[in-house]
Symmetry: C2
Subunit: 203 residues, 2 copies
């Protein structure tokens, strides 16, 4: 049995903060780890802007709830769950991801926690500076082979420790820096690549 | 965010091997960790009897597929998945558990692997001598609080390391040996106990 570790935003869902930016008209809030690879720096900026503009957790949750999964994502995840154990490894926050996890049928999610007072995001707590990498190392220590797929800078840490990593929907400016990582732009090809690298699943 | 770790057989589903025993008429195959706490000893016995009687993996899978979840189990798991991350920590095998995981909506499952040749179970591979304990220790090292619930001897290892453990549907002969562990005989009471021990979920 093998575990497939999937990033969430950009991989299975649109970027939540891009919707927040569209809803609020504050362009800066739409930046992601594709633009600012240092996630701590990105979150500090977001919290500062939210505080200055009275934007609350519920606004972010409403943005997440209004998003549809990327086309084909649900079918992709459902097919994987029949043959592998699936984990969503995301740098989002549990409070933000919840409506999207509901749409995905509540797969197992590991991500970060927000500190919230009266609906205001006052700070955030990263589980670990490289939480995605740490999770895969843990699953490997439990005796599982791990696949990983993601689209952005913060997914490289997964590829470093997974038995096999894949880009999916990654911008060329990111994937071209890592020619050693196979890169796909649709779920069918990614699914086939995972199968062909599995030592348990018959294609 | 907290992780709820649930045993499978006896906790959410009937005992698969009891159905195998009923289907084959071989009473010895119905023994579980409730009867023989040493799981290696139990599996050696099962494999020997299966070999002697021509019983195959597919017979065990058919038995598992014919089982219904325990009454209320699906609703219990679905409600938990809305508020916690849920993991099934079982001493079953991925090949055996699959039809039951399908009925539960494919929650994340960590268990063991069988070695199978031409539909014959030739041996088994435990991930770890105390795989349930090891998994909870890993989740704690990832920064999560963990609850655990189960019904039998092999669940005690979870209770030793979980932030809080509970018996559910446990025989008195097992639960009475561990009066320090709260013991429940229905999902509603267990759910309330989990909520009341959560530091994140509002009841």
């Amino acid at each position: 049995m093998e575990i497939v570790c999937l990033d969430m935003e950009g991989t299975l869902t649109p970027e939540v903060w891009e919707r927040v930016a569209a809803n609020t008209g504050i362009k800066e809030l739409g930046k992601t780890t594709r633009d600012i690879p240092d996630y701590g720096e990105l979150m500090e900026m977001r919290i500062k802007i939210m505080s200055e503009n009275g934007i609350k957790l519920s606004n972010v949750q409403d943005a997440a709830a209004s998003l549809e999964l990327l086309p084909g994502a649900l079918s992709f995840v459902n097919k994987l769950r029949e043959k592998f154990q699936v984990v969503i490894l995301s740098d989002t926050f549990h409070d933000v991801a919840k409506p999207l996890m509901k749409k995905l049928g509540y797969p197992f999610l590991l991500c970060h926690n927000l500190k919230v007072i009266d609906d205001e995001i006052v700070s955030y707590e990263f589980r670990h500076p490289q939480a995605k990498k740490q999770a895969i190392e843990s699953f490997k220590s439990l005796g599982y082979r791990c696949f990983a797929a993601g689209d952005s800078h913060n997914d490289i840490q997964m590829f470093e420790v997974a038995d096999k990593g894949f880009f999916i929907n990654a911008p060329l400016k990111i994937s071209s820096k890592h020619p050693e990582i196979e890169s796909y732009d649709n779920y069918n090809d990614l699914e086939k690549a995972i199968y062909s690298n599995s030592i348990f699943v018959q294609t």
